[in-house]
Symmetry: C2
Subunit: 395 residues, 2 copies
């Protein structure tokens, strides 16, 4: 048995977070995290819960009553969505065009569902015609798609087309908005999305731990009329309804501090205005993109489905992607990430999310990445890149 370990003070490095999340957290949100706690059934906390739900509705662009933070990180809200919508015997249609479609499939199978696929290569969005074909062939009960693929930097366009195909087949639509909520245009009600989930540590710039989820009445009716219980007690929405709904009955101890932080992060969204925030992400990430392209790099996604919150940049020939990532971390305290799955070694993933989507940050990334590439002997024009970033920012 060990003696008391001698663990020193917490002194993490001072990173600039431009990877796929977490993003830099706003000082106001950090301050909210250090607020002393009240109980999870305290009347004052019940008021906070109401406020968070209202702010989440605003951010999701929805009037859905069932709009809550799930007590866990983004994968928990994802499994809450899938595990409650999918019953044994149901069929779920999932995409193959990125890492998170695979995760959807695994969760649907564990929920007892059958999984069928709609194909698209990694790095491309789904084609509505393929979705139509998959519906005609498989008649799935649930369609899952990824609005903003963190693994490939692809934004799924045509969301209303996808939802209308699904609804013509009486199916339900689950949208993964982990890397879009609060940064990239997503209109849950107008686009007729039945269920959407997200994480707080991306475009909301909030520490992970309480993750947004919204369901319309149609989806919640399905959840509440299941024939079998969901396979997770912790993520059972019919039980969570008791706590977040009118009854306020004890289910589990909510992560109070994370709810405080989410509240503050969402207040920042409301103060800025959601449309203006989407614009800012386009502008600031656009400056990054202009800088990198002018420098001589290539984006992985064409402009039609470029994802401003997650920029997939192709690794130039002869450059060691991991060495560049390590150099940026060591020399610049700057985090960017490598590719995953089919794009492993081929791209870097540079986030531009929430509080990280600032002119200062993209200028820093442009300069630092330019230096790292120069150190690797790559032929890049850093000065031209920086000038393009600056011009795009209107500086």
């Amino acid at each position: 048995m060990t003696d008391a370990p001698d663990v020193g003070e917490l002194t993490p490095p001072d990173r600039t977070l431009m990877g796929p999340g977490p993003s830099d957290v706003h000082p106001r949100v950090l301050r909210a995290m250090s607020t002393p706690l009240v109980g999870h059934l305290d009347p004052s906390f019940v008021a906070v819960m109401d406020e968070v739900q209202e702010l989440l509705r605003y951010t999701f662009r929805t009037d859905n009553q069932w709009t809550i933070p799930v007590s866990g990180t983004g994968s928990a809200s994802m499994e809450a969505a899938i595990g409650n919508l999918v019953e044994p015997g149901d069929t779920m249609l999932v995409p193959t065009n990125g890492y998170f479609g695979g995760r959807m499939a695994s969760m649907a199978r564990r929920a007892g569902g059958e999984v069928v696929h709609v194909d698209a290569p990694w790095g491309e969005p789904l084609d509505p015609a393929d979705v139509q074909d998959a519906f005609d062939e498989h008649q799935p009960d649930v369609l899952g798609f990824v609005h903003a693929e963190t693994s490939t930097g692809v934004r799924q366009p045509n969301v209303p087309e996808l939802t209308s195909i699904a609804h013509e087949h009486d199916a339900y639509v689950i949208a993964d908005c982990v890397t879009s909520l609060g940064g990239v245009e997503m209109r849950v009600d107008e686009w007729d999305v039945d269920v959407a989930y997200s994480g707080p540590q991306k475009c909301l710039s909030c520490p992970p731990g309480a993750s947004p989820l919204t369901l319309n009445d149609r989806a919640m009716d399905r959840v509440l009329s299941r024939e079998t219980e969901p396979r997770s007690w912790y993520l059972d929405l019919s039980l969570l309804e008791g706590y977040w709904g009118e009854e306020r009955a004890y289910h589990h101890t909510a992560p109070i501090t994370n709810v405080y932080a989410l509240r503050e992060a969402l207040r920042l969204v409301a103060e800025e205005g959601i449309e203006r925030r989407w614009e800012r992400h386009l502008d600031v990430a656009g400056a990054l993109k202009a800088g990198l392209e002018t420098m001589g790099l290539e984006m992985n996604a064409p402009d039609e489905y470029w994802l401003p919150s997650l920029n997939a940049v192709r690794v130039p020939g002869g450059v060691d992607d991991s060495a560049v990532i390590g150099y940026l971390l060591d020399a610049y305290d700057l985090e960017i990430a490598s590719g995953l799955g089919d794009l492993s070694g081929e791209i870097w993933r540079i986030g531009c999310m929430g509080h990280s989507a600032r002119p200062k940050n993209v200028t820093y990334v442009t300069a630092a990445l330019g230096d790292a590439l120069t150190a690797q002997g790559a032929d890049v024009d850093v000065d031209a890149g920086l000038a393009a970033t600056s011009e795009h920012l209107g500086e």
Copy 2:
């Protein structure tokens, strides 16, 4: 669609938390919560993960390699334990002597297991003879028991007897230590507990969001040799092994800030010393108990299985338990809780956990509860109670 909601600054009341959790959080832990984040795969965070695991092992009194914080509140670590140990077709033996045995049963059923019961009334511990009988009758694969029943204020004595009965039947033991870890003696290795889980917001006085779990090699071997996948992707320990084990592969984004906070809360445990911390809980809760008994109140549990971290106090005849709770909240900013289930209306539950287990707090509770009872016309001797508390504290 709503316009941007006008939500004001976060100004929660300044509560003293003496309910069943969360408990008062130490200022050092609150400060850790406001530390800027690094990425969940940052080398510096990997070092933090190692430190947290080492500190958790110390606190659980174990050398178990598989000792981690689960990314959720206590119910998530509970479901991680049950959902990974129980496979479809397995039988789990759970107790009926409190609220959390019922939750164990629900989780085991959702995992595909059969549930059998060992009976004891609410407010009493399990009798090893009854556990023996239940094993002989049902031959369960897994025994779950609650070491510290938050709903009844009962400490389960005879833990080594329970584990030895289970092991004689080749079964696995899961211990609910939500309200004991870090406050009440629990020796995972010495007492031969296969799996133990806890929450951070009780005797560790850490905000909820990352919850301790430990499995010995025997239990982890069982998890890794399952025939079917666990039914939750989020809580699948074979996947979490990839992140917390040597590989450090991405599974989900850890709740970085909650891990920082848990690290600081566990440092406080190590600085105090685990045995000394158990003693402090006995001393300080003992002073509360002496004060309340001298005042004229009755504890629900006899001394042999009194739980210092959660004091179940009987509501005197003619007193409205909810009115007292409301009075304490309004007049004293003090949280205590009502009874649950079979003990609803019969007891108050007064926590004495972690940073809340301080002389100042128990004196305050004694005085405030005395005042509330006097206001209700109950016949209590507040002065004598306060003197007894003070004497017990050696003041």
